[in-house]
């Protein structure tokens, strides 16, 4: 049981896919100007990651090794198109804001990385947990970055005005991709210096 819990909790902080493995940074820069888009993106990625891990784990003994990666890609691409279609049908406004980035979940290294590194060797249930953990780890970073950017850039959080425009002028740098780059850089530095000290010493 503790072991299973660790599969989910590990990628949240100590082995976070974004800040520790530095995967999926592209979308973390692109969709984090607003918290609401970041949340939808997180949900979409977590769903795709869980499903792809489970499907690939179930097929793991049948997939011929030579075409392993192309099969993974095929499964992931199908799931991403599904997610995109569903978003377009049910949350049209948000899907317009996410535009190409939902499609780009395909290229998100976390999905492919987890399929290769975990789902191919482990049974479906454990793979599901691994997908969930990594998806949540990505979500935490995405929402943290989006919160900072929306707050400092537009003075709002989830569309609610926090810093009144009468005395706070939005920092445009935060709304541009370089702003996210700086924040993610600081997060990575902060985690490696203060939080994961023990891990680093083990290395």
């Amino acid at each position: 049981m503790a072991k299973l819990r660790k599969i989910v909790s590990d990628p949240l902080a100590d082995n976070n896919p974004v800040t520790w493995q530095v995967l999926g940074v592209c979308s973390a820069l692109a969709v984090t100007t607003k918290v609401s888009t970041a949340v939808v993106m997180s949900l979409a990625l977590t769903a795709v990651l869980c499903c792809s891990n489970v499907v690939i784990s179930m097929l793991r003994k049948m997939i011929p090794n030579k075409i392993r990666m192309i099969v993974e890609l095929c499964v992931i691409a199908t799931l991403v198109i599904l997610a995109d279609q569903i978003l377009r049908a049910y949350v049209y406004e948000t899907s317009k804001q996410l535009s190409v980035f939902v499609g780009l979940i395909i290229t998100n290294c976390i999905v492919m990385g987890r399929a290769e590194a975990y789902a191919l060797q482990n049974p479906p249930f454990k793979s599901l947990l691994d997908g969930l953990g990594n998806g949540l780890g990505y979500s935490i970073v995405l929402i943290a970055v989006a919160s900072l950017r929306e707050l400092l850039g537009s003075g709002t959080w989830f569309g609610l005005t926090i810093l009144s425009e009468s005395w706070y002028t939005g920092n445009t740098l935060m709304l541009l991709p370089p702003g996210a780059f700086v924040i993610i850089g600081l997060l990575i530095w902060g985690q490696r210096t203060f939080v994961s000290k023990t891990l680093r010493e083990e290395d």
Partner: protein, 244 residues
């Protein structure tokens, strides 16, 4: 040999399953997606006429069915070609977004120009909404502009799609900028005037609005396509007047 057959067999199976799944989902969700798209345009048109269809945060506050009825009751759509001629065989609902917003590289004109006519249920006065679009700095900017019954006074404008820099060119979608257009005139003494978006702080007249600081390139793009689009619609209005 056996191995290869197995690989090909497996690949075919995976492809088949995936494509059948996608085809099913696409057919099942297709109508819903098409309705979302159509409603999006309808709500934009109603908005530019000043009908309240979204709340302060931009979320729709009327149901899709209500939106449909509102639109049907109050609005008629016409399709014009690039010379301002009415094409009776075309309906606005059949136009795809590319046809009305991607200009031809050499002429700068678009294949079709939708025109929406709004009739106020109480006062019976008419308003017109024209579709305006063209290059900003990074992207194609798309919007609707409403004209009053005189076909010259600007009643309102919205930009519903663009990928300009947030905080700089992206400010063109904000009310503070859009409100500057209200009440401006396209014509002086019956002739179409060049519409200007001036440098911030410069003197403005009836045919110009104040631009946005640090968004010169976007404003220049908007100014250009507004004038190109005005010319097409103006041709239609002129022809109409000649007929009457």
């Amino acid at each position: 040999m056996r191995d290869q057959a197995k690989i090909i067999g497996f690949a075919t199976a995976v492809c088949l399953v995936c494509s059948i799944l996608l085809a099913l989902v696409s057919t099942a969700l297709g109508p819903r997606q098409a309705r979302n798209k159509a409603n999006d345009v309808k709500s934009k048109v109603l908005q530019v006429f000043g009908v309240q269809v979204t709340d302060a945060s931009g979320k729709p506050c009327v149901s899709p069915e209500e939106l449909d009825t509102l639109f049907k009751q109050r609005i008629t759509g016409l399709v014009l070609d690039s010379t301002g001629k009415h094409l009776p065989e075309k309906a606005v609902a059949d136009l795809n977004p590319r046809e009305i917003s991607e200009p031809d590289k050499t002429s700068g004109l678009k294949p079709f120009y939708p025109l929406y006519i709004y009739e106020d249920p109480e006062t019976q006065t008419r308003q017109y909404a024209i579709h305006v679009s063209g290059k900003g700095l990074w992207s194609t900017v798309k919007g609707f502009m409403a004209l009053k019954a005189d076909q010259s006074t600007i009643a309102g404008i919205v930009f519903y799609e663009h990928q300009e820099t947030p905080g700089l060119g992206g400010e063109i979608e904000k009310p503070f900028f859009l409100n500057r257009f209200k009440g401006k005139q396209l014509h002086a003494d019956g002739t179409l005037q060049a519409f200007r978006i001036t440098k911030p702080g410069a003197q403005t007249d009836m045919h110009s609005v104040d631009g946005i600081t640090a968004a010169t390139m976007t404003c220049r793009g908007v100014e250009n396509f507004l004038n190109t689009d005005f010319a097409v619609y103006d041709q239609y209005f002129k022809n109409q007047k000649a007929v009457n």
